[in-house]
Symmetry: C2
Subunit: 170 residues, 2 copies
DNA sequence: CCCCTGACATGACACAGTGGACTGTCGCAT
DNA sequence: ATGCGACAGTCCACTGTGTCATGTCAGGGG
């Protein structure tokens, strides 16, 4: 029984909510974990096929629009339980803006500040979205915890961006 | 002239400092951009081969321990200059701990807090490392800017972690 | 009634990125 | 002399990304 990867494990996790197609799983995942665990349609369909091959999920009869509804098997439930008991690995961040700044001496200073300003808008929007979602009173505490991460993260990025003129100005 | 990807562009960037082998480029990159732009030996060697095929770098005569020293070509310099003029894309974060928390209802609460505690140590260490590096007075302002991001990021993660007991406790 | 649009649904493919295993070289200290 | 650790590169299987292609179905407008 090879280890599950986090993406596959997440799919099994969502399938605890009942039967779902690949399309629905992508939508759910995008919504629920998309801000800190990226996945793509292609990858999801590939994982589902692999999970089916390993007997961790089962596909029901193909429905309208060639929809393939997947359900958890007992083996799938067990594999998920084993996965969540494992300590999670370190995070990876890939932030192209930081690359640009790191190579800032080759960039026109005005252009660089322009790039930063564009990113500031995106981060401010995400912060507002998270805060709006957190205002909802009846919310699962685990989702509240991940949203709170988002708030801390976006706030930190905004604070950093606002400190840049002083650092780069001289 | 297809677009450069950020990894390939970074290698060209580092080669502005003069001739270097794949091994040295991995070391440099790990040190300078490793905290916000992950790359692996395998990928670096593959990119170098591709860059050589496109005429953006040139390999000198193979030296001791089959060392292949690469240098920038004029085309490589031009490709890098074109790349840094482009606006950088959005960041991607993949944080397995957040997945675990998102699926927290299937995890033993004590174990979950244990996972969090382990991560706290790692983040505290990185924060200390960044602050120590920032204490250095003569430092390139661009590196100072990226290190400052690190400080903001790690501080935010620590603050978030410390807010978790309250969120998850109830 | 027909056609168009947009949401639903899957898959193929090429390329990028990761992590481990493997091979070999060389300098140095015991 | 030997054996360890840093240097240097390669291969492979798998995971992840982005785009293109294909087809289905529902509902509204003409």
């Amino acid at each position: 029984m090879t280890e599950l990867n986090p993406t596959a494990a997440s799919l099994l996790g969502f399938l605890h909510g009942g039967e779902a197609s690949g399309y629905e799983l992508v939508e759910t995942a995008d919504l629920v974990i998309g801000d800190f665990w990226s996945l793509t349609r292609s990858q999801v369909y590939r994982e589902l096929a692999a999970l089916e091959g390993r007997g961790l999920v089962e596909a029901g009869p193909t429905g309208a629009r060639s929809r393939r509804p997947y359900t958890l098997t007992n083996a799938g439930r067990a594999a998920f339980a084993a996965w969540v008991a494992q300590p999670p690995g370190p995070e990876t961040i890939r932030y192209p803006l930081l690359l640009s700044i790191g190579f800032g001496s080759w960039i026109d200073p005005g252009a660089l500040l322009g790039f930063v300003a564009e990113h500031r808008v995106a981060h401010a929007e995400r912060l507002a979205k998270y805060e709006e979602m957190l205002a909802e009173p009846d919310m699962d505490k685990y989702q509240r915890a991940t949203l709170t991460f988002g708030v801390h993260y976006e706030s930190a990025v905004l604070a950093w961006i606002d400190s840049l003129p002083e650092i780069l100005g001289g």
